[in-house]
Symmetry: C2
Subunit: 256 residues, 2 copies
């Protein structure tokens, strides 16, 4: 039965989208059936496959705000076992963007429930914020994966995020668990990065993935070439590290 994993951090630019795209692609390579949902109006999941916003019809906000059938919004990527639902409509009405529904209605959870039997894993990429949309994502999810960029502002952002997750778990989704914390843009040649790695491992212990994602140009080239790093250069450190992560991710729940 499909597990819904939300990728979340209110700190911007920490590698949420890069992780969503490259982890999904790696799991698809390991024969897992993957659906990736873009909940960020920036629409960078579709940009990762080279689509411009106006190229695509069918966007997640149509299921949320216009009650369209979510099955009609699923698009295939060029990769086997890997489907996605984009966010392509412009940001539109300010207030509409901030408020999906009261949290106790669990609207997104209801919309996504019919998808679980079709996929092994459903990932949700989130915008860099903590608001009504991301609260609904947490309520709809079985687990949460938190990318932590190896920099100090990202480290400082951790406290508010953990507090927010606890509030949602306590009041709305008691089954919500941590999938894990992923260290991203790691550069062990510099002290700053080393300090962050040490601090995170000391504080979050076994919740932190062994696998760390190094800073690697191939990962930054994903939106330029319109494909996950593995399909740009399968031997690049960026590609192999997400493949390692996928194996570690699967071994977590004994799938492998």
């Amino acid at each position: 039965m499909g597990e819904i994993v939300t990728i979340l951090s209110q700190k911007g630019g920490v590698g949420k989208t890069t992780t969503a795209v490259n982890l999904s692609a790696s799991l698809a390579l390991l024969n897992q059936k993957i659906l990736l949902i873009d909940l960020d109006p920036q629409g960078h999941i579709s940009a990762s496959f080279g689509y411009a916003k106006y190229d695509i019809k069918g966007s997640i906000d149509e299921a949320i705000f216009e009650s369209k059938d979510i099955m009609d919004l699923i698009h295939k990527t060029p990769i086997d076992n890997f489907d996605f639902i984009p966010y392509v409509n412009e940001i539109g009405d300010r207030e509409h963007d901030c408020f999906i529904a009261p949290l106790n209605e669990a609207k997104l959870k209801k919309i996504l429930s019919g998808l679980k039997s079709h996929y092994d894993f459903i990932f949700i990429d989130n915008p860099p914020t903590l608001n009504n949309i991301t609260s609904h994502a947490l309520i709809a999810s079985d687990s949460v994966l938190v990318p932590i960029q190896c920099e100090f502002y990202a480290l400082k952002a951790l406290g508010s995020l953990l507090k927010e997750i606890k509030i949602i778990k306590t009041n709305y989704n008691p089954d919500l668990s941590y999938r894990g914390f992923l260290l991203t843009m790691v550069d062990l040649r510099n002290n700053l990065s080393k300090r962050v790695v040490t601090k995170v491992r000391q504080t979050l212990k076994e919740l932190v993935y062994e696998t760390m994602i190094p800073r690697n140009i191939r990962l930054a080239e994903v939106p330029y070439y319109g494909k996950p790093a593995y399909y740009i250069d399968k031997s690049a450190k960026g590609s192999t590290s997400y493949l390692d992560l996928a194996r570690e991710f699967l071994s977590q729940n004994g799938t492998i």
Copy 2:
């Protein structure tokens, strides 16, 4: 008379906060009286000076949501000519965070108007989003400074941002102008960065600052040492580039 400049990009991690802190510090060095307002609930302006959220009393949201006198919320930094107003209260009530007031009330503009006579420049650091808060920031501002990280996702984000600024200018703030576009985390050793620089200069021409901010470890160390890069190592490329930017910024309006 103080000019209000809002630093904005809905793309996360492009260097909004780093620019807000280091440009403000550089302008203060050039004898400009600067106020920096943190409109991002992450509160990374205070983190840049080594303050923890609970260390400080008085936060911008108290002027917005509880009608506190804005003059009482001003804090001094250790640097002459450089004051700031932090955002230190926790994110709190979901809906409150998304909605300051109807845009035609120009609530933030009214709150900030009394400050203009006390400062040469007032900068606003924004969260990585386009919502009611950032719309009010645009309505309250004389000009907007847009950091563009030299990466492809950041480039793709530009279209929506320009559209949003145009909507606010047309409907709410006809005097809003572009202060300029700033290329950040530039690394001319890699092709990706070069392509972005070329593309941005071709599209936005003279609106793009000559000065480019290189990727430089001292800038990432600001929240670790709790001071702008110039005060960590004044000869570092990160420090000198923001000082160059400050001079170019002042020469724009003939101040120098």
